[in-house]
Symmetry: C2
Subunit: 362 residues, 2 copies
């Protein structure tokens, strides 16, 4: 757990769940090797998983005997089909659970995983508990817009978000954007189907009311539509976990469709290949902008300790980027700031509720 | 209204709301001119809007005295800010309302508009009434996947879809895909956040139950995720109108961001322009696949008469494509088939409800 005095710490210990990702533990270990230079000079990584495999991988990667790398054995693996409550009961020795337990017992400060998101969210909430003031954790993604990047949440931790959850996400997203994007007063938008007040249904309207109540605590611009996201006028975009998850995966699916379409058409003609070679720097520039290592993974906000999640299919660069982002969050005392801001937001909303004698949202 | 005997009709009359689109009536009239050759040789268009303007535009476009073009005056215009119920009361003489009235009074068979979607949906449901069996209209879009096209609905008519609405959309989407894409047994997917049963919340689970109950009436494959859409394994994708609308607009926003990013980077270097010129056919091929005239607009399914909606910003080609799609639907007796299939679906669901003595969905 990160306390107010956490920034005076000399180093952080990150428990790395090496199993359960699509690319296997080898890629995770390579990602950690890359991350060693990004984090604090005394930060330590504890690799969690089948000790025999990890020893051999550490050796292969040239990390054997490294003073900042430890190994912790865990015999089981959470698979992509496992369910949170089931896994909590029957897979107590899985690498993900062991990583959580290490934080719980004060042997680590944060968890990194490429494994099953559902179990990470569900078991994380049970094992590490929520930050006081938060009702649900939220997964946050960094997305590209035309001029830079914005923060999108929730991208799948909580598919049935209530107005209160969305209000909490606005507070958490603001603090995360300050830390991860370095924006002092992040402009916040509520994603919906039309920008007139009254559009989008009861959930949107009640959320809108709550967000306005927060006043200067956040920089709420107002409701926004899908195409507004990429114009660069918002730094934080709030959406329920159902729509957010579909959105993120749709975006991924669209990019890979585009790449495939271009590749297929390129095959037809050697002249095209010449053109493509000339344009390679352009293509790479666009690609770099779109898939910066900043958007390889996402932290899970709202838990009492930092949990970082990289895509199950994420390669070593995505893993490195996710760890770097997470480390920044640690050094910026994210959990402490989240707790403070959530408590303040809940107070403001409760106050106006009492004043108005009305319950604005279920 | 289209009756079972409608396919014996010699011709159809399409009331075209010429006002209210972002590009003005001139673009609509040009779109109609292009559409003249796509529709039946005796089909007629009735242009609805300010008569003085329309007369001059018809003259300019070389359509003056055309035997298949008529003009109907309407003094008012529905703006993008108008609300359905307000507009129904206070803008009775708006071009969109006049077009609806013409269908109601048997002077036209279908309505085409580029105007305010909300008003088109709301006023359309009041003026033209729903097909027996339908509870809400749904906007349907044709989207590209890697190998061809699929049908996505609802993209914004009904942001608060219930399981029953989603079940109706499955039935309507199936019939629409048969007509518009020529696929006999369209493979149908329910868009959600995970493909395991039990994921995605109560709405998804109840919808899943209803869709399974329909048995062979539809070709339901199962729940699917965002990135599955573009792989080409689904012909009809069902989603609530809130998520569907955000999805569609996000896709649009992403494409225009990509175009802008490429253009910006191209400016830097004349060599790039050479490469780009060599690659122009590739870019155009991809662009053609992605923005075929098939996806310029969408019909509103579930009303007793055909209503076609092109994007407010749609150009003449999008308008032409939307009209062609709509005309195909007319000749395929869409309304009659929708009514028949919806009634059948409602019967099946009611039967199993009685048999199981359980109410599967609110």
């Amino acid at each position: 757990m990160v306390s107010p005095s956490a920034d005076t710490r000399a180093y952080y210990r990150i428990a790395v769940d090496c199993m359960g990702g699509d690319k296997g533990p080898a890629e995770v270990v390579r990602g950690v090797k890359l991350a060693l230079n990004d984090v604090g000079p005394e930060d330590r990584f504890i690799l969690v998983g089948k000790e025999k495999w990890l020893r051999s991988l550490v050796k292969k990667t040239g990390l054997e005997g490294h003073p900042r790398i430890e190994i912790r054995n865990a015999d089981e693996v959470i698979s992509m089909d496992d369910k949170p409550m089931q896994a909590l009961k029957s897979k107590k020795d899985a690498s993900m659970m062991v990583a959580f337990d290490m934080v719980k017992q004060g042997e680590a400060d944060a968890v990194f995983s490429t494994g099953n998101t559902k179990v990470l969210v569900g078991a994380g909430a049970v094992k590490l508990r929520l930050i006081p003031g938060a009702d649900r954790p939220a997964l946050v993604a960094i997305m590209p817009h035309t001029k830079g990047y914005f923060v999108l949440l929730d991208v799948g931790a909580n598919p049935e978000s209530t107005p209160r959850h969305l209000m909490h996400n606005a507070v958490m997203g603001t603090i995360y954007a300050q830390a991860a994007l370095g924006i002092e007063r992040p402009r916040l938008g509520l994603l919906t189907v039309g920008t007139e007040e009254g559009k989008g249904g009861a959930r949107i309207n009640n959320t809108h009311t709550l967000l306005k109540k927060l006043g200067d605590e956040i920089n709420y611009v107002g409701p926004m539509e899908g195409f507004d996201m990429f114009e660069g006028n918002y730094d934080v975009v709030i959406v329920d976990g159902f729509t957010g998850n579909i959105l993120l995966k749709t975006a991924e699916g669209m990019f890979s469709m585009l790449q495939r379409l271009v590749k297929e058409k390129l095959r037809w003609n050697p002249l095209y290949l010449l053109g493509a070679t000339a344009l390679l720097p352009v293509a790479n520039g666009v690609k770099e902008h779109l898939s910066s290592d900043r958007n390889g993974g996402a932290p899970l906000l709202g838990l009492s300790a930092l949990v970082m999640k990289a895509h199950g299919s994420g390669n070593r660069h995505a893993i490195r980027g996710t760890i770097r982002l997470g480390r920044e969050a640690l050094s910026k005392q994210m959990s402490y700031r989240l707790e403070h801001a959530l408590t303040r937001a809940n107070e403001i909303v409760a106050e106006t509720e009492v004043r108005n004698e009305a319950v604005p949202a279920k």
